[in-house]
Symmetry: C2
Subunit: 324 residues, 2 copies
């Protein structure tokens, strides 16, 4: 007797790596696989790598694709969920790529595509918060800063499908240069890149940090976890720079409260995963401080527990939603 098609695969497509996870209908993760993206090889090669990553993950769980009901995928850029096209994805150098169609052809399974910030927010919303908030904003601090909006229980992606670009909200006119070309974006003052650069600049200016002992003088291969270790070993420089990033994040959260007044704001991403204890209390306090009187009362500002899995969990949630 053939078993039912009941599993879901969630895929997190990034500029450097592809992560695929296999999930039960109850969103229990049975296993996952990671490979590099290699966007320089072109879209066709990346689509093949995605398919391979999915097949490998399913195989790792001793299943085969016949047991899979649907595949969800979060992509870094503007996505039209209806057509499944990636409209543009600067990190992959993609434009107007019919990702859903291509993957469905390769895998012979239904595929659903969304923006990665939306996907992570959806994952937190359904798998972690059990769809309780009416309005949820997700803020994910990694190399850059991404985000997503759930309004009235539904993903809000807007006119050009690019809503939730929280990282490029300008909070300091004339501030530090951002990768997008503007100055003073939230990402340019609180993203991992910004934090690392501040530390490197301080080291070059002769300031002391134990990071140079832990790594080397150029701070090669610095990771978010190194910052946590340095702070716990009493490193004042790293502590101050991380606190500053937390304050900026609190101000960005206050802006979100003033503007959208969601019930819940969830923070996640590599920086928060590594530095939750160091940053969250400052973020929460600063947000309530800067939000207009009376606007932040009762609003929850929390750290996600999904960690690096937010993308694959969210993608599995999307696949489950869409195949219901």
């Amino acid at each position: 007797m053939a078993e039912a098609k009941e599993h879901f695969v969630g895929v997190d497509l990034g500029g450097t790596k592809i992560l695929a996870g296999v999930f039960t209908p109850q969103l229990k993760c049975l296993g996952k696989t990671k490979i590099s993206t290699k966007p320089q090889r072109g879209p066709e090669a990346v689509v093949e790598r995605i398919a391979r990553c999915i097949e490998d993950a399913v195989d790792e769980c001793d299943l085969d694709l016949k047991k899979v009901k649907g595949i969800g995928l979060g992509a870094p850029g503007a996505v039209d969920p209806e057509s499944g096209k990636v409209i543009f994805a600067p990190n992959l150098a993609w434009e107007d790529l019919p990702l859903k169609k291509e993957l469905e052809k390769q895998l012979d399974l239904p595929v659903f595509v969304e923006n990665d910030g939306n996907i992570c927010t959806l994952g937190v919303y359904e798998a972690e918060l059990h769809s309780k908030p009416r309005d949820l904003v997700g803020v994910f601090l990694g190399t850059g800063i991404g985000g997503g909006l759930i309004l009235n229980g539904r993903l809000h992606s807007g006119f050009n499908r690019t809503a939730g670009e929280i990282g490029h909200m300008i909070i300091e006119v004339g501030g530090p240069k951002c990768s997008c070309g503007n100055r003073g974006c939230f990402e340019a003052v609180a993203g991992r890149q910004a934090i690392f650069q501040k530390i490197q600049t301080a080291v070059k200016a002769g300031q002391k940090t134990i990071l140079t002992e832990m790594l080397d003088d150029e701070l090669t291969d610095m990771r978010s976890g190194d910052l946590r270790k340095a702070i716990r070993r009493g490193d004042k420089l790293v502590e101050r720079i991380v606190e500053e990033a937390a304050e900026y994040t609190g101000i960005a959260v206050a802006n979100l409260i003033n503007l959208l007044n969601p019930d819940t704001i969830v923070l996640g991403g590599g920086i928060i995963d590594a530095l939750e204890d160091e940053m969250m209390a400052i973020i929460v306090e600063t947000a309530h401080d800067y939000a207009l009187g009376g606007t932040s009362k009762g609003i929850e500002i929390i750290a996600s527990k999904l960690g690096d899995d937010a993308g694959i969990v969210g993608s599995a949630v999307l696949a489950r939603r869409e195949t219901k």
Copy 2:
């Protein structure tokens, strides 16, 4: 034969004045009345003044209250539309005032209350844009800066009913002090108060402007219209300060595009009414410039034509919606 109850009254309750207008079912304004608010006399007195303003407006149009189907009102603060309570309104020093109930008792007619930024946005949405946008953000530059959000065709007021506080979005950390106590709010760099203060500071520092000839050395009773006149007479100082406010407004609009990606952003309020020709082109250009690549394509950034009537029109729209 008694005529049908078919008219609507729209009320714009501000910290200094109350404006009431009488509207046909097609939202044609038949007449309006304005009186001062006098909040220092206490809530009970203000409620009576609102009722009187409504009665006067109806009388001006040779109608009586029996011809009125419903009354809408926009209040400056957080409002719970369901209970019709004003939760808090700092400009009026009100807290938890059952405005709907009080007015219904006095006028024996259904009353519907909303936040004023929401109301103005609703007025533009239905009376000016004929409910065409799916998502609309209203930005109103007056003494302060207010706003409202229509998402998926519905007013979005959020958890504490305070969404749309666009004026207190921080866009310049460490910038000029705002009336709310923070620094660098959008209102503190582009509201009327901010523009006037910059001009006054420049005059005190010895810079020349024909405003001192038009008014006096202290620039007493300066109005937005004076700025327009000065610019048209070639005043470089005023021109520069107004252009700066327009640039900040463009940056705030870019933030809204990055975050919410609405189809349409409408600007209004006294500053825009007086300085549309001087500011709008700069606002639109700056917004597209600062919005993340690909996110602003096709998004309309327009000036409302409703002018000072946005509040009463929006309130009439609310009354018409709610009595359908």
